[in-house]
Symmetry: none
Subunit: 191 residues, 4 copies
DNA sequence: TATGAATGAGGCTTCATTCAT
DNA sequence: AATGAATGAAGCCTCATTCAT
């Protein structure tokens, strides 16, 4: 049975609000943005917002869930399928850069990065670190401090992602990051 | 708590406010912190705040200026004095990690990173890129994309700085970062 | 909870809403209660409320009408049938206390008294005063200020009704009130 | 030292708000009245309200405190000084009726009675009952159910107070109430 | 008629900023 | 300058009521 007209409108409104929120958060940052800002970016009435979300936090959470759901599985898969160090790095960076190139993170022109302390993002970091450790255990990567290596990977990923958002080509940026880490890990202090 | 009002000269009030703001912003983040919070951490009255700063934004700006003024010259100097690639990287990372280890960035336990879009910080990035380009020109570093390399350096620096704030040793973290980049640049695509 | 929607006829919806309103007003008081609270205590939808009542005020009014309709005739009858002062007082108080003991006023555990300014309640007061005057004219009660006497009767009735709600026995409370007024009227200033 | 101009204004503002609240509560009742209503009855800005009171409840509390402080001690004194039943009743009713005649209860034309459940009012009831019990113990009043007698006194007092507000003379109303209770207590069931 | 989402006025409160002292 | 109360715009949210289905 097809969804009724009412249900469609309802689903559309949710999307309308999420889209507005994505835009507003990207432009003003989460802390600065207000629920009113989100509503104003919408043809809806103020009360309608609260039919869908209890608070600004809740929309934000929904957005983060969306992003996390969209990208984390793809990253895990790319790393899980890697048989060489090169595949390990290339898979991760390529997926991530493609994702932001498509605007999937919704932060197109944002002065803000993701909040690093949301459960979803933290979980993504933990996954990265686990995968790094597993790769070291398998001999895919030389043994070194996995916490520092994941941090470095993260830092480079986010920072180069900005270059990608600014127009850098995904493949070249990926190539750069992969080369940097392939060369780098050989030289890292062993443990 | 700031020293008693009695012993304050006018000039000291500015410092009192800045110190309070530094602490308050570090604890609550810029958007959440209120001018009242800052004043409350001060023996001064609310009106007095506006004798020294036009707005909350302005104190924040002043703090960022302070930080930038404190660290940027030291970074430039470290890089300027480098005669080898290792010195170039080591100098930069060590200075930066020491700075955050000392709490110089005022964000000790903050949920917030620096805003990356402030003129001072952007200027710091531009300096890094210039220095990278100069180092490439001098043959200190192999020629590759200086924008990407500076971005990668920045990303690693900020991300490892979090580890340092979390207690990682400055020297070891520096060693890790230096090894990573020394190894990495050799492998980077030439241009 | 009201009976399932299926078994409702249109005419029953009105009763369903009134019953829910009675309960909700008794629990939360008129001002605190919301239409949503009333609807929630019902299997109906919010819009349906407005098919039966124009506003929250209107349900309240309907409830007061109901109460007035339920108790006022019984009070009039009790007083009309009185052949002695004792019957006059006893009839009135007993009926009233029985009524509240049965929860007929719908304010079982309410922090609120009736609003004394509703037309129905005011009309009830007027009736009392007429009956008092008639009783004085008939020689059933000694002549004194009928306005003050009705006010005193009203005050005692409402206040002792609270004791009844709190568990006092109807007969004993009635006995107390009757004795008080029987003794009292003999001593009242004549007019 | 005389209060500074600033302090005077401050004290005046508090009074302004209290006066407005008194008026607004009297006109609309506590539950219906909003903080905005109070502010609108004032030349002050909305924020100013919150410099003086944390909430509507708090102003209301302040008003009740005022009333309770004004009348309860006078009532206790009147009853405490009584050497006869007549003095006991006369003192109480006269003080109370004078108080409302002067508008001291701030409810001039209110559709609302005092909230009977505020700590101050409840305490006032408890005092009445204690005094009634003490008077019975001293033989000033015949022994009967003190709870019912205090309730009856309360009911008559409030109800006749309405007549006083409506213009009835204090002395005559007092006379009426005193006669009613003097006559009544003689007839009450003994315990 | 019943439904329940949409509406938007309006409630409460905070806070950056001004201004009289 | 320093003070701190006053200001009022603006934030968040609730709720009576309407209206498309």
């Amino acid at each position: 049975m097809a969804p009724s007209r009412r249900e469609q409108t309802k689903a559309q409104n949710r999307e309308t609000i999420l889209a507005a929120a994505r835009q507003v958060f990207a432009q003003m940052g989460f802390a600065t943005a207000t629920v009113r800002d989100i509503i104003r970016a919408t043809p809806l009435a103020s009360g309608t917002f609260y039919n869908y979300f209890k608070s600004k936090e809740e929309v934000y959470q929904a957005l983060r869930d969306e992003v996390a759901l969209a990208v984390r599985p793809r990253l895990r898969e790319a790393r899980g399928n890697a048989h060489t160090a090169e595949e390990f790095f290339a898979g991760s960076f390529r997926v991530f850069f493609q994702f932001v190139a498509e605007g999937g993170d919704g932060t197109a022109s944002s002065p803000e990065r993701f909040r690093m302390d949301s459960p979803e993002v933290l979980e993504g970091f933990a996954e990265l670190r686990q995968d790094v450790q597993a790769a070291m255990a398998k001999g895919l990567l030389p043994s070194s401090d996995p916490a520092l290596l994941s941090a470095a990977l993260t830092g480079v990923a986010f920072e180069l992602a900005d270059r990608v958002k600014a127009g850098a080509a995904v493949e070249e940026t990926t190539g750069f990051a992969v080369a940097l880490f392939l060369g780098g890990i050989a030289a890292l202090p062993k443990i």
